[in-house]
């Protein structure tokens, strides 16, 4: 927690330099290079097994790098965890777990509340506001597992909002999400970015990447491209990412045909 020795310029929220992660010598994702500034949003695009989730885990400091560096707000991923929130896929969680939607959101306050103490009135207010942000204020007392897939995903985003992060990481946030939930998720992400948070999301949906992000990182075990979405999502680079499968570009929309 040392004060930044150089007050200007502020470090990027996320900086990756030749970042490589390997499990027992086999590289899972290699040579990722790029920066994400406050208010920016990056889509991690690539086929299954491309290393998107692994890269997210590396930014969270949950898997070690074998080479290169990752810095979050100028610090190591472990040192910056208080400023980072992670949104898992809702369907990876136990739907029978006896917690309410509000209680799940309140969990986002735990790192700030600290050991032993219980969340106070201020924490409950923050959690309540976060749940309202994603349009679920009326479902606060519903058991998490009784909500629809899209609603559960919104609850998990609300939990991340309650963490008041400067970097938000999402793993396939739009998987199995209905249109209403998708719109509410997109709107909440826009407000977070307007508030200065940087966003990184793994997705295989190029259309949603266009709607939610301004930058893109193309991955298939190594970095194929990183840059503004308009100039980086080219047929050539997408072909390289997805192994040369057929794809079309239509205006802003991109369609990739997968087997």
């Amino acid at each position: 927690m040392a004060p930044d020795p150089t007050p200007t310029p502020a470090p990027p929220v996320l900086a990756l330099r030749r970042a490589t992660v390997a499990y027992e010598r086999d590289p899972v994702v290699e040579g990722v290079d790029g920066e994400v500034a406050a208010g920016q949003s990056v889509a991690l695009i690539g086929p299954n097994g491309a290393g998107k989730s692994t890269l997210i885990r590396a930014v969270l400091g949950l898997v070690p790098l074998t080479s290169g560096t990752i810095q979050v707000l100028g610090r190591s991923p472990q040192g910056a965890r208080r400023q980072v929130a992670y949104v898992p896929q809702a369907d990876t969680l136990d739907a029978e777990f006896p917690v309410s939607a509000f209680q799940v959101v309140l969990m986002g306050r735990y790192p700030r509340v600290g050991w032993v103490r219980r969340p106070g009135a201020a924490d409950r207010r923050v959690a309540g506001r976060a749940l309202a942000e994603v349009g679920l204020a009326e479902r606060a007392s519903a058991r998490f597992g009784t909500l629809s897939g899209g609603q559960r995903q919104r609850v998990l985003l609300a939990r991340a909002i309650a963490q008041e992060p400067r970097l938000l990481l999402l793993d396939e946030p739009f998987n199995g999400v209905d249109a209403l939930s998708q719109d509410l998720l997109l709107a909440a992400l826009r407000r977070l970015r307007a508030g200065g948070a940087a966003v990184v999301m793994a997705t295989h949906d190029l259309g949603l990447a266009h709607l939610a992000c301004d930058e893109v990182c193309l991955l298939n075990r190594h970095q194929i491209g990183f840059g503004p979405i308009g100039t980086t999502l080219t047929p050539e680079l997408l072909g390289a990412t997805y192994g040369g499968q057929a794809l079309q570009l239509r205006g802003d929309g991109v369609i990739v045909a997968r087997p």
């Binding site: 965890r81 929130a85 006896p98 009784t146």
Partner: protein, 285 residues
Amino acid sequence: MNLLEPFTIPYMQRALVEVLVLGALAGAVGVLVVLRRLAFVGDALTHTVFPGVVIAHLLGRSLLLGALAFGVLTAVLLTGLGSHRRVGDDAALAILLTSFFSLGVVLISRTRGFTADLTAFLFGRVLAVDRTDLLQTLAVAAVAAIVLALLHKELVLRAFDPEATAAMGYRTRALDLVLNLLIALVVVAAVEAVGTVLVIALIVVPAAAARLLADRVAAMTALACLFGATGGWLGLAVSYEVSVDHDIRLAAGATIVVVLVGLFLLAAALAPLRRRPGRVAGASG
């Protein structure tokens, strides 16, 4: 049958305090065991404390201290071995369970008259609990209850979403060790009263019954404590009354487990009543 009358006798009073405390504590810890699906860990611990009990018996030391030493050892080994990528939790459990239990059997079979001792270790002797035993149980239970109360919100978070828990900066393996130690403490506290075989029922059955009826961890915990304590009291009272009035000897520990399973079946019968489709609140909104 009078369910209060037996407790005018001093040894029955001590037994009652013992099972009420154990039932409530095991219920509360059991909630986390059931939510984490760790019943087999509890089961393994009940077997791995066995050599500790035997060694303490051979040395003429406190059985509880022997169980405590092996319970802590198991919790540490389990957490360590389980995190090894090529061993995994289930194999680590099986290895520890069988090796420690057989060590206990080997040791006890070298003593004279070991069948009587073995029965006592496996099934407990709650009616023989003396003042010292009771105080030891209360001390272990107090430590476990304090740890559980202090770390409850983190343990629940880890049970619900391990990935996000780690992302928030919590050391999940340390939390796992805490829970394994809590299970070990319950097993240790209960080993003299209900024996190593039946402790697992005290941990799992009340919590499993509570899960059928509760939609919140807090409510589930309250119900599990209530079921655990109720099962302890009813089991003791029934075993005493049946033994005295009808001259049918019912082992107290086993009767407690039978009552607990009865409570579980009752909860299973009641659960569908409160999960009617019409009760899903706000489905229209």
